[in-house]
Amino acid sequence: MIAYIVRRLAAVVLILLGVSAITYCLLFLLPADPVDLLAGRNATPEMREALRQELGLDQPLPVQYAVYLGKLVQGDMGRSLAQKVDVSLLIAARLPATLQLMAAAIVASLLLGLPAGMYAAMRRGTLPDKAAMIASFAGVSAPQFVVGLLLLYLFAYKLGWLPMGGYGLANIILPALTVAVANGGWYSRMMRSSMIEVLSQDYMRTARAKGLPRWRAVLNHGFRNAMLPIIAMVGIDMGYLITNIVIVESVFGWPGIGQLLWQGIQRLDYTIIIGVTITAAVVITLANLLADLLTPLIDPRIELR
């Protein structure tokens, strides 16, 4: 078990190297120069050149990347080009909010997706099944910013039940629900097919044969088995989840790293973009690991090697 975790953590380091290298190269392929934006409109060519040197942007790309990596190892993510503040400070201030929203979004997605999928599987081919699957299809397909704005308009503006944007306990419900509409829709479809397969298993027939009512058989034996692929999926979907969260944070003004990234992109703030990307990669890989560690708790037959 410990050897497994160590091995996985070593893989995380490799992944981060790859992510940072790719992000770094992509940024420098952009046909735009951050110095143009930063130097101000009255800067002379000499001032722009001086600023380029000050920022180290005059160095060849591999040198810049090596310098960046060297600092990163020491926990220094550099300084924001536009804000002139330590990047690690900005990310640390915002990461908790993103983690909270991720957790809330996962719980909401499962609460929405699993029962819906289970219900559809048990009523397979009937009208409720078709309705649930059409709804999930719509949820998966609808753009997140549209869903977010619609929910906001209905629940916050028209009905006034929930606050409009901002940070807090009541404020997390709508953004989490917005993510759950997409991810939950996806999980409900997976849960449905997984459950249908489980329902046809011998042990389910055995459970019924020994006299268990249908709902108990489904809950005790079916649900736990059908859920396994979805738990694995939650881990695998982390990247997709973070992508949605970037959008949702911007719609609801949730003060997480997604919002920071979005603003960094608008300002060509390279160090912010790279810093947030690396942080997100760390979160994704660690969440994957966590999901893998959780599976044996649900299904003791699975062993981590």
Partner: protein, 537 residues
């Protein structure tokens, strides 16, 4: 004499009879302002976008400022100033009893330190270049520890020596980049002063939770007695402009900082309930299309004039819901030097076609127009495209990110650029600020902002002459000189001036203050120091 006395007596009687009018608003209450984006920084030597500009002005002060809601200079931290006869030495006397938010007294050394901080390359200030007129600038950029041109004669006297007379210098000294910061706090913050600002301004910093909110409270020792009127300012971030307007209507917030979104504009403006809640004011802004004077066939002045005549500005103004007025010249109407008699090129497609034929392009030509890819800019570029098509010019719209358009302009490799979303709002209310950086020879290419690549050395010379007229009695002559420069520039047609934007600020009923304070051309968009809360009255 008698008449003067009488009117004076009448005035006194009037003031006595209406005490409420003569009295300043009572202090108290708060205001909540929302923005979509978090602020970048509150460091006055670093901040350079429309959003942090006015917040910084409320936390910090400079030697000079402007009358609230206007473009008229007045001393601020300085009590008075004198200018030497040759126009190269400025002597500022500081007010008595000036204090930083940390309680320490402000001295002349702080002024010197702050301007040097803007020039110091390590600060990476986007505004350092503004101080290039001060003696010792080149040396300091080259590594010298300070500016030899600034000396503190005593605790209260700052003497600044210039390389040449510069009529805009008082404006430069009023820029945020020259605002006074306490050295010990800058050093204590260890490079993160931008998120822990300490100044002398009307409001002092309380907290900034990134992405959530910034809280400022009234500075009790502020040098202007009775100001500011509000006790507390809260800026909430991450609020979509659409959401902000909905919250304003529910009474949850006071000012929608990002303005009214285009989709809701007509509905909100036509609602009579909002009549007193929307302040409308001029900005120092011109939206224009640059015509690349270095690139055939736009290097032909007739072609540039024809394009000026081909574009229907009224239609574009309608496209932006009449949030501006058609522009006739580079300078906006609120700017000194604006010429009311200059009518610009009238919309006349037939004359445009005739001019094109004269220039040798009877069947037009193909070209490109760059625009930033954020609404409404692509729509405006398309309107221009249609107008040009009507006179035979085929223009391909290149809708790109801000950085890419600025880059193309900086290398003068774009035939035409629509400036929307990028340029040009003046940094200070002086005609010179619309010239050197965007129309002068020195800003062509190499990342400069003269995207038209227009260089007229005779005009450059006249500009320098105008700016050497420093004495107060020369001010009118100087303004006239600038009028002449822009009128002659219009003949060369390096730009198509399209419109001058107006600002519309939507605020709650509980906030009071003149409309000009909510659309302040200097404290963009709102002068927080002088607005007040009606609940406190």
């Amino acid at each position: 004499m008698k008449r003067i006395l009488l009117s004076a007596a009448a005035a006194i009687a009037l003031i006595a009879a209406t005490p409420a009018l003569a009295q300043a608003p009572k202090q108290g209450g708060e205001a909540i302002i929302t923005f979509n984006n978090d602020l970048t920084t509150l460091d006055p030597q670093v901040g350079y976008d429309w959003q942090n500009w006015s917040v910084i002005k409320s936390i910090f002060d400079g030697l000079m400022d402007y009358e609230p809601g206007s473009t008229e200079l007045r001393p601020d931290l300085a009590e008075s100033y004198t200018i030497s006869d040759d126009g190269q030495t400025y002597t500022f006397k500081l007010r008595d009893g000036l204090k930083f938010h940390n309680g320490r007294a402000v001295t002349a050394d702080d002024v010197k330190y702050s301007i040097e901080r803007a020039v110091n390359p390590a600060t990476q200030s986007p505004g350092g270049g503004y101080f290039s007129v001060i003696k010792g600038y080149d040396e300091m950029v080259g590594g010298a520890p300070g500016l030899s041109g600034i000396t503190a004669a005593d605790d209260k006297t700052v003497v600044i020596q210039l390389n040449r007379p510069d009529a805009t210098f008082l404006h430069v000294i009023a820029l945020n980049f020259a605002f006074v910061v306490p050295k010990e706090e800058v050093e204590k913050a260890g490079g993160n002063f931008g998120i822990a600002p300490v100044g002398t301004g009307a409001f002092k910093f309380v907290e900034w939770v990134p992405g959530q909110r910034l809280v400022l409270e009234r500075f009790a020792d502020y040098h202007e007695a009775g100001v500011p009127y509000l006790d507390k300012l809260t800026f909430e971030f991450g609020q979509d402009p659409t959401v902000a307007v909905l919250r304003l209507q529910k009474g949850e917030i006071d000012i929608a900082g990002d303005g009214i979104p285009p989709a809701q504009f007509n509905e909100i403006m036509s609602d009579s309930a909002n009549k007193d809640l929307i302040a409308v004011g001029d900005q120092l802004h011109t939206g224009y299309v640059t015509l690349n004077a270095k690139m055939p066939p736009l290097d032909n002045v007739k072609v540039r004039q024809a394009i000026n005549m081909a574009i229907n500005k009224d239609r574009i103004v309608k496209l932006i819901n009449n949030r501006g007025v058609p522009a006739t010249q580079p300078l906006p109407p609120a700017m000194p030097g604006y010429d009311k008699d200059q009518k610009g090129y009238a919309f006349d497609p037939n004359k445009a076609k005739a001019l094109l034929t004269e220039a040798g392009f009877p069947n037009g030509f193909a070209t490109e127009i760059y625009a930033m890819n954020v609404d409404p800019n692509p729509r405006i570029a398309q309107a221009i495209q249609q107008d040009l098509a009507a006179v035979g010019i085929t223009a391909e719209v290149k809708s790109l990110g801000q950085g890419e358009v600025i880059d193309a302009g900086g290398q003068t490799k774009a035939p035409m650029i629509w400036s929307g979303g990028m340029a040009w709002i003046a940094d200070f209310p002086d005609p010179a600020n619309f010239y050197y950086g965007i129309l002068g020879c020195s800003s062509v290419g190499n990342g400069g902002w003269n995207w038209a690549g227009y260089c007229n050395e005779a005009l450059d010379q006249r500009a320098n002459q105008a700016d050497s007229m420093v004495a107060a009695e020369q001010a009118a002559a100087r303004t006239d000189a600038w009028k002449g420069i822009y009128n002659d520039l219009m003949k060369d047609a390096p730009w198509v001036p399209i419109f001058n934007e107006k600002r519309f600020t939507y605020h709650s009923a509980r906030l009071g203050g003149d409309a000009s304070l909510f659309t302040d051309p200097i404290h963009i968009p709102v002068n927080y120091d002088f607005i007040y809360n009606k609940d406190a009255q």
